[in-house]
């Protein structure tokens, strides 16, 4: 083997995408005005405005950023008013991971405008999620996945060597730590907090349980309604057993922030939440700063599963400058821009290569550890349910909530849910 071929082989080992990004030739868009409807949670608006200014510099186009409501449901209502009226006022919409099916008819097919190799940079799961009837409805912008947060200091204190690999382990560890901490003088300490309110977040949590038990994804991609099966029953029974034992009885009213409030104030050993909680839990004013670890969610026998979240960018079919809008979307979702957002705002990139980027890993080390979680994230059945996704999800989280609050057994709930889903998907 020659020296040259050894070097060549070493070069092969370095991920190709991390080496160099193909330079994009940006067009001259002077005179064009584009409007982006974007989120304004935390640093979001600031980052989007900066990116808009940079795009203007690059192409000469004027970009306006429209601030939209924080609550996803409210935002969808606003979007539908614009889209229903075929309004050309907004060119680019920031859309939730579960909306492509609902909004597909209003979207431009981005396969027409974005080169294949650029699309291939993103996680395949996010691209699959955004592809409806063979059309790329939106280009992924940032991603989310359900994670297990744990108190590293407490695990050590009670002699556990690491985070739990299975739900059984988690239940046992939570019980031991909760008993110990309560005996040590904190009566309001709980083992495990999560999102149990009757809302979209519960669909994510419950989907993670049932997939990790091998219970399928509610409605399979081919349209089969698979939710009523013994493994899902088992998963829901397990979750029901937590309520009032290792989880507070009020967990069935908790969303992300309620769970975080308990975990971050030092009153819980484990928490299921999205990546955003990491930066806040490790912030300077956090009582658990330096004591928090992040791991993939435990397995129920069929491996760990994390629900896929995140946001993408859609070009409106009613835009008068569809091509220019597609250029803007390409810019916002590009390697450089996602890198900037990952470093400055700890938004998880959708481009795989960024998880090997030294600058990103230095700013947010957890992104490197979570690579496997993000690549294996399970999408909710929004593609197959299409415009009926919200009905499907509402029926699902209502059924799960009824099990968690003890109104019906898991078997009854799933039998009823199956009938309800058939009705919805008729």
């Amino acid at each position: 083997m020659t020296l040259l071929s050894v070097i060549a082989c070493l070069v092969c080992l370095v991920p190709a995408t991390a080496v160099a990004q193909p330079a994009i030739e940006w067009p001259d868009l002077t005179g064009v005005t584009l409007t982006v409807a974007a989120g304004a949670v935390g640093q979001e608006l600031q980052l989007t405005k900066e990116a808009a200014a940079a795009f203007s510099e690059l192409t000469g186009a004027r970009v306006e950023v429209l601030e939209t409501p924080d609550l996803a449901t409210d935002r969808l209502g606003l979007y539908l008013q614009y889209l229903g009226a075929r309004s050309p006022d907004i060119d680019v919409y920031q859309v939730d991971v579960i909306w492509p099916g609902i909004l597909a008819e209003h979207a431009v097919d981005l396969f027409q405008y974005v080169p294949e190799e650029e699309i291939a940079q993103h996680f395949p799961a996010t691209i699959a999620n955004n592809t409806i009837d063979g059309r790329l409805v939106a280009l992924p912008w940032f991603t989310d996945a359900g994670l297990l947060y744990y108190r590293a200091d407490l695990l050590e204190k009670y002699g556990f060597s690491g985070p739990p690999a299975t739900w059984e382990d988690l239940t046992e560890m939570a019980r031991v730590i909760q008993e110990g901490e309560r005996a040590a003088g904190n009566p309001s300490f709980w083992g495990f907090v999560w999102q149990g309110n009757r809302y979209e977040g519960l669909t994510c949590d419950a989907l993670e349980w049932q997939v990790s038990f091998g219970g399928g994804t509610i409605i399979e991609p081919d349209g089969t309604i698979s939710v009523n099966n013994p493994r899902t029953v088992e998963a829901l029974k397990m979750a029901r057993s937590w309520v009032g034992t290792i989880s507070p009885p009020g967990v069935t009213t908790y969303a992300e922030e309620e769970a975080r409030a308990i975990f971050q104030s030092g009153n819980a050993a484990f928490m299921r939440n999205w990546p955003y909680a990491y930066a806040l839990a490790q912030a300077e004013d956090s009582p658990v700063r330096g004591k928090v670890g992040v791991a993939p969610l435990p397995s129920g026998g069929a491996g760990s599963a994390a629900a896929l979240g995140g946001w993408s960018l859609m070009v409106s079919r009613y835009s008068r400058n569809q091509e220019a809008a597609a250029w803007l979307v390409r810019y916002l979702a590009s390697y450089e821009e996602q890198k900037r957002r990952a470093i400055e705002g700890s938004f998880n990139p959708t481009i795989e290569a960024l998880y090997d980027d030294a600058d990103v890993l230095a700013a947010s080390p957890f992104m490197g550890q979570l690579y496997d979680v993000f690549i294996n994230a399970v999408p909710r059945p929004s593609a197959v349910a299409g415009e009926r996704y919200n009905e499907v999800s509402t029926a699902y989280f209502t059924a799960v909530h009824q099990v968690l609050t003890g109104q019906v057994t898991a078997e009854q709930a799933l039998t009823r849910l199956e009938a309800e889903l058939r009705r919805i998907m008729r």
Partner: protein
């Protein structure tokens, strides 16, 4: 000879003629006045047609189609299909039951408590003005704000309600007030009663103030007890005010939305007709089906209105 009998036959033609003239004058005057009345009413009628009749008719029309919110797909006329689905929709039927339960329990409690408060602030005592103003505080806070406030007070971990009840020894362990089915609905009813009892009290106080004082004096002279005075004078004479207050509160309660939306968003057996309607219309984008829900809510409320109007009329007679 009685004077009436004399010449009555001679007078008759004159009287008949006079009557005819008077009637003619009355008809032209009446017609003119009626026309003026219509002209003056026209703007009001136009507004009513614009803001009440038109939306109502549109909603009814939409309820016969499969229209979707924000969809450009062509709309199909489906007849009564939506209504057929609605009658077999378990979530909607549950919502109707929840709403009726909420209405009956909350309005009854508000009536009893409102009457007690009205009687107290109707009597003479020092500082009455201050108490009357203080009673109105819950009514003055916007529902969304007070519901959010109560949500925090009901919180299972940080909530002040659990804390107080545990301190006085009524509870051993904290309760998740808005999470437990059964408990959640009553927690919401309690908030509604807290908020709208002042309104009930205010209307009843107005009713109390128009009852003539001399009736009570006469009763006292006759030796009627306080109890007897209440049941024989106060209660019957308060009936019109009570009915008006009940109409307002019942119609409000049947449309209950904000307090439930903020506190549980319809979870744990607290879905009301209005929260379900919003869910179907906005979250599911089912304009057609959601309109059918709206129409049914309209008729449920309409039945109550007819009932009360009947009662009021019986009262006047």
């Amino acid at each position: 000879m009685p004077w009436g009998e004399m010449g009555i036959d001679r007078l008759e033609p004159v009287l008949v003629e006079a009557g005819r003239i008077e009637r003619r004058a009355a008809t032209t005057l009446g017609a003119r006045q009626a026309r003026l009345a219509w002209i003056l009413l026209l703007p009001t009628l136009a507004v009513l047609v614009g803001v009440a009749l038109y939306p109502l008719v549109t909603t009814f029309y939409n309820s016969l189609t499969d229209a979707r919110l924000g969809s450009s797909r062509s709309v199909q006329f489906v007849g009564l299909e939506n209504y057929r689905w609605l009658l077999t929709d378990p979530v909607f039927l549950e919502a109707v039951g929840n709403t009726l339960y909420f209405t009956v329990v909350s309005v009854s409690a508000e009536l009893v408590l409102g009457l007690l408060i009205a009687l107290v602030i109707h009597s003479q005592f020092p500082g009455r003005g201050l108490v009357r103003a203080a009673v109105l505080v819950p009514w003055a806070i916007p529902t969304v704000v007070s519901a959010q406030m109560w949500r925090w007070m009901y919180n299972d971990v940080f909530g002040v309600v659990n804390d107080l009840l545990m301190r006085v020894g009524l509870l051993d362990a904290p309760l998740a007030w808005t999470a437990v089915p059964g408990l959640a609905m009553h927690a919401i009813i309690a908030v509604d009663v807290w908020k709208t009892t002042p309104f009930m009290a205010l209307l009843l106080l107005a009713g109390l103030q128009v009852i003539p004082r001399d009736l009570y004096e006469a009763a006292r002279v006759d030796g009627a007890s306080q109890m007897r005075q209440f049941f024989s004078i106060t209660l019957p004479l308060l009936r019109p005010a009570m009915l008006v207050a009940l109409i307002f509160r019942t119609l409000d309660a049947l449309r209950v939305f904000d307090v439930i939306f903020v506190m549980t968003a319809g979870a744990s057996g607290t879905e009301s007709m209005a929260t379900y309607n919003r869910r179907v219309l906005i979250e599911f984008q089912q304009l057609g089906y959601g309109s059918a829900v709206s129409v049914v809510i309209f008729f449920v409320i309409f039945v109550f209105v007819l009932l009360y109007v009947r009662l009021l009329r019986g009262n006047e007679a």
